[in-house]
């Protein structure tokens, strides 16, 4: 019995130890010039998307939305973050909602769920007017009124609309096809909120950037299908970047990135340097850079690494690549200087997908 009496003490000693907890102190504001906001989309169906904030002095703050909103979870699969005036706008595509927040405090101002069944990207097009691409198949652009926080209009565009770009009072919308395939760019007149033209580009256009000459570069990922019985990806058409002359909406240049028969290669993440002179794109798990005058993809990549997202700082031309890791745990942002030499890295949230620069 003496032995029995000593056992509880042993158990207590055995079980005594500290648990590990995350601690983070929120910064004063989230709009500091030179800082960056990282969108972590989170795991599908796990509701663990998040926003990380990297201050100018390189301090990382994770879960900033939750910290500013009493633990309220931001959503499942965060697609994008952008700013429009004093507001920040988060598109949470699997949560089927758009969050409008105070960009300075990150406190939620509005939660929009009406018609937002698959929100992708937001773009401020006028004072208190934001366009939001929406739809995994039938596509639309939602017109969000930032005075009333309601969707005032729905503009029908092509299937699966993705990124947008505003040029000369018009917005160019890349219609990827969503879960199918499309090959068009819709042009919307901001004043009337009407589609005034549709241009055929390559298959599965997703991203649009503007260069120093005012031309628009569109990343067309090419059609990839997943046929039964094993649903392994098969490439049906080439991936390429095409250049649009916005004066007449014609395509004046096309550069192939991945040929149609390369079924396990992918092209992604188009960006252009701050001065508009150089194009960056990820192809087959490598990063390539070329001048806007180039007519072909260079042979040698500048970075030999896969990035889930890639953004070039508009002022410093630093290359910020996001590494999702194993897609279950926290990924990281790796920063390279303008010569593509690694500088440092930041551990952020789960599946980081893109960076927004405050400037």
């Amino acid at each position: 019995m003496k032995l029995i009496s000593k056992i509880p003490l042993f158990i207590i000693l055995f079980t005594m130890s500290c648990s590990k907890e995350q601690t983070a102190i929120a910064p004063d504001n989230y709009v500091e010039s030179g800082s960056a906001i990282v969108v972590n989309e989170g795991g599908f169906q796990k509701n663990n998307g998040s926003i990380s904030y990297i201050s100018r002095n390189n301090t990382v703050y994770n879960n900033v939305f939750e910290q500013s909103n009493n633990g309220q979870i931001v959503g499942d699969i965060l697609q994008s973050f952008t700013r429009s005036g004093n507001y920040g706008i988060i598109c949470a595509n699997n949560s089927q909602k758009v969050i409008v927040l105070d960009a300075r405090t990150f406190k939620q101002v509005a939660n929009i769920t009406n018609g937002t069944d698959y929100p992708r990207f937001a773009l401020g097009v006028a004072a208190n007017k934001v366009y939001i691409t929406n739809g995994s198949s039938v596509g639309s652009v939602l017109v969000l009124n930032l005075n009333t926080f309601t969707i005032d209009k729905v503009i029908a565009v092509g299937d699966g609309p993705e990124e947008m770009l505003a040029v000369n009072g018009k917005v160019y919308v890349a219609n990827s096809g969503g879960f199918g395939n499309n090959n068009t760019v819709s042009i919307i007149d901001i004043a009337t909120d009407r589609v005034i033209n549709t241009i055929t580009v390559g298959d599965y256009p997703t991203e649009i950037e503007k260069d120093a000459d005012g031309f628009l570069w569109v990343l067309c990922k090419g059609a990839i299908i997943y046929p039964a019985p094993n649903y392994a990806p098969v490439r049906q058409s080439a991936a390429k970047v095409v250049r649009i002359n916005p004066l007449n909406n014609s395509i004046d240049k096309s550069i192939d990135l991945v040929p149609a028969n390369a079924d396990l290669s992918a092209a992604d993440n188009l960006d252009i340097s701050g001065d508009g002179s150089r194009v960056y794109v990820c192809v087959d798990d490598k990063v390539y850079e070329f001048p806007i005058t180039a007519s072909a993809l260079p042979v040698i990549p500048i970075i030999n690494r896969f990035f889930y997202g890639l953004d070039v700082h508009p002022y410093t031309n630093e290359i910020w690549g996001v590494d999702p890791g194993d897609y279950n745990e926290a990924g990281k942002v790796i920063r390279y200087n303008s010569s593509a030499q690694p500088v440092d890295s930041f551990r952020v949230g789960i599946i980081p997908s893109g960076v927004y620069f405050n400037f």
């Binding site: 019995m1 032995l3 029995i4 056992i7 042993f10 158990i11 055995f14 079980t15 130890s17 648990s19 590990k20 907890e21 995350q22 169906q45 796990k46 509701n47 663990n48 998040s50 994770n62 879960n63 939750e66 910290q67 633990g71 309220q72 979870i73 959503g75 499942d76 699997n94 949560s95 089927q96 909602k97 939620q108 939660n111 769920t113 937002t116 069944d117 995994s136 198949s137 879960f179 039964a228 019985p229 094993n230 649903y231 392994a232 990806p233 396990l264 992918a266 992604d268 798990d285 896969f306 889930y308 890791g325 194993d326 897609y327 279950n328 745990e329 926290a330 551990r347 949230g349 789960i350």
Partner: protein, 636 residues
């Protein structure tokens, strides 16, 4: 309403065909067949105890998971009532836990784990949870034992619960001292359209769980035949099916269009011969498991966006002999063999593997001392593993009130078929997971002379390491593959205390079980900064308690469960951690007897306090809900 009437009629139709009701004053528990949870840690040194009618009454509404969760150190992760549930022991993964039915392993061949919600409560009469085995987590053995005195018994049960929950069950036992037949069938339907507070949405609105219905049926048969010369044959079969809607996660505005169909067939044939000097056991068995998972973009679509089919077959064969030698020594030797076959869409061809083991165990027992040594040589058609060692030593006080044991065992797990054959990404070079475990077990049994008061308990301490943990990880932007990435440690304690008071007119049972467990990363190939972090979905603290008091015609019981914080990622982000929760269930039982006929009505309230909680992140669980059960039992 029609279903309620049907359920009531289902019971009373049988009741009114049996006549001559009269009161019977026997102990009520004798009338109810029992599920026994048998010594879960070290079989030779922990007490065998029965939770009998108490936990069975409390949880027969659903599945075997509730029984395990209340009474053993097993931890269940559930997507919701009658939805997929995985089972783990001592912080291991679900595929580290082997589940056996009458000695036949029934883990999924493609995923490795076991969806325990597919196992009906009628599948066995005894459950053994044993961690001192070669599996990385532990074993759960569900088996059926014959009652050779039984002549004829019938049991009919009907449950009617909240959210259109209906379950009907019919069990028959028939036989004599040489042959016994047990058969049981059930059918369950539920809409599961319970309300919940969606705190993934702004302002936490009240929502209703839609697209959450389930339809499940099953039949389990067991035939036992006593041959001459102490030989026995048992034949078992089990058919189960489930069709269920998969609900949307919380925080999402649109309804889910996902759907899952499960089918399972198991057969086994066992032959045993029990001699005074030698015993033999021979078994041959077959399992078939099929699953279809589908998804649509829109509810009105006829085109299935995802339509995935799995079908696997397993043929298992085993043989063992036990020799009883002099000086208290016994020698057990044998082998297990399994042929695994899979026809899975995502594999490029039909997959075949052979796995098994050859083992030998020497046991010694003299007086109050005992020891054993086990050597197991695993084999497979693709990887070699060194022999696995298990040793154990124990001592029991002469008055049998206290025993202590210490054990060491090597542990391993072969990769599942998805790890090897999935296309693209399957890794034919993937190595088995392996590790070791030490365990210190203490148990005591105190009772007074009258045997009215009885106090039993166990205190177990354990430490394990698992190496070569298999994790699927991206190798290119669109191609994933399993790799041996991690090393983890698992340590903790299990404290169990049971008290019972027995009086001719009143019985009282009070059971408690506390688990402390830490499952942490020791090393990680790519992420050394994760070292020391906890694995996902492993609570550090769980506590379960149940109290049940009954007299001749009335019983009342209470179940309590506490689960501490669980991280949902290995970063241990606190914002994404699941909050701790407390659950309390209560039930009242009314019984009546007329000779050999028993009628029982149970009224149960689950989750009395209406606690909002999650077992899997973002999947809602029901708040307070009710169930009424009608049970008719006849035994001769």
């Amino acid at each position: 309403m029609a279903k309620i009437v049907t359920s009531i009629l289902f019971v009373f139709f049988v009741v009114i065909t049996e006549n001559n009701f009269a009161q019977q004053s026997n102990t009520l528990l004798q009338q109810i067949d029992t599920i026994r949870i048998v010594g879960y840690t070290i079989p030779s040194h922990t007490s065998i105890y029965s939770i009998s009618a108490v936990q069975k009454i409390a949880s027969a509404q659903t599945d075997i998971a509730d029984v395990l969760q209340l009474s053993t150190p097993v931890y269940i992760n559930s997507y919701g009532f009658s939805n997929s549930s995985s089972v783990s022991i001592r912080g291991g993964n679900d595929d580290h836990t082997n589940v056996y039915w009458n000695g036949l392993k029934i883990n999924s061949l493609s995923l490795g784990g076991t969806d325990i919600s597919l196992i009906p409560l009628e599948s066995g009469t005894e459950i053994t949870v044993n961690t001192n085995t070669t599996s990385l987590g532990g074993d759960i053995d569900i088996s059926t034992k014959p009652n050779w005195q039984n002549k004829y018994a019938i049991r009919v049960r009907s449950d009617v619960g909240s959210f259109d929950h209906f379950r009907n069950q019919l069990s028959l036992e028939l036989g004599n001292k040489n042959i016994q037949l047990q058969t049981s069938a059930f059918h369950l339907t539920a809409k599961n359209n319970f309300p919940y507070s969606d705190y993934y949405k702004f302002n936490n609105p009240q929502e209703v769980a839609n697209h959450n219905s389930v339809r499940q049926s099953g039949v389990v048969n067991n035939l036992f035949i006593k041959l001459k010369k102490q030989s026995f044959i048992s034949i078992g079969s089990w058919y189960g099916m489930r069709n269920k809607d998969i609900p949307a996660i919380m925080g999402v505005n649109n309804e889910s269009n996902k759907y899952q169909k499960d089918r399972a067939i198991r057969h086994n044939l066992n032959w045993d011969r029990y001699g005074s000097m030698v015993q033999y056991h021979f078994s041959i068995a077959h399992t078939y498991d099929a699953l279809n998972y589908s998804d649509k973009l829109l509810p009105t679509d006829t085109f299935l966006f995802i339509n995935s089919n799995y079908a696997t077959n397993r043929i298992a064969q085993s043989f063992s002999t036990t020799l009883f030698l002099k000086y208290g020594i016994s020698l057990i030797s044998g082998y297990h063999y399994q042929l695994l076959m899979a026809n899975v869409q995502e594999y490029t061809k039909k997959a075949y593997d052979h796995i098994g083991d050859v083992y030998s165990q020497v046991k010694w027992q003299k007086g109050t001392y005992s020891a054993s040594l086990t050597v197991t040589q695993p084999f497979s058609s693709y990887k070699y593993l060194r022999p696995q060692i298990g040793v154990e030593a124990g001592y029991t006080l002469p008055n049998k009130k206290y025993s202590i044991s210490i054990s060491y065992s090597d542990k391993y797990r072969f990769p599942d078929l998805n790890d090897r054959y999935w296309y693209p990404g399957g890794n034919h070079a993937i190595k088995p997971e392996y590790g070791w475990s030490i365990n210190l077990g203490n148990s005591f049994h105190l009772n007074e002379k009258s045997n009215r008061h009885e106090l039993t308990g166990q205190i177990n301490l354990y430490y394990s390491q698992i190496k070569n943990n298999i994790v699927w990880t991206p190798i290119t932007s669109i191609n994933w593959s399993p790799k041996n990435l991690k090393k983890t440690s698992l340590y903790g304690t299990e404290l169990q205390l049971n008290y019972s008071y027995t009086h001719p007119k009143l019985s009282l049972n009070f059971n408690t079980l506390y688990n402390f467990n830490r499952t942490q990363i020791v090393s990680e190939l790519y992420r050394q900064d994760l070292v020391g972090n906890f694995l996902r979905y492993k609570p550090q603290h769980t506590f379960r308690a149940s109290v049940y008091a009954e007299q001749e015609f009335l019983g009342v019981g209470l179940n309590y469960q506490f689960v501490s914080t669980r991280y949902t990622d290995e970063e241990n982000f606190s914002f994404f951690a699941l909050k701790p929760y407390h659950l309390v269930d209560m039930y009242l039982s009314f019984k009546g007897f007329i000779k050999a006929h028993q009628l029982q009505i149970i009224f149960k309230i689950n989750n009395i306090s209406g606690t909002s909680y999650e077992s899997i992140r973002a999947y809602a669980q029901p708040s307070r809900n009710y169930m009424i059960s009608f049970i008719y039992h006849f035994k001769k």
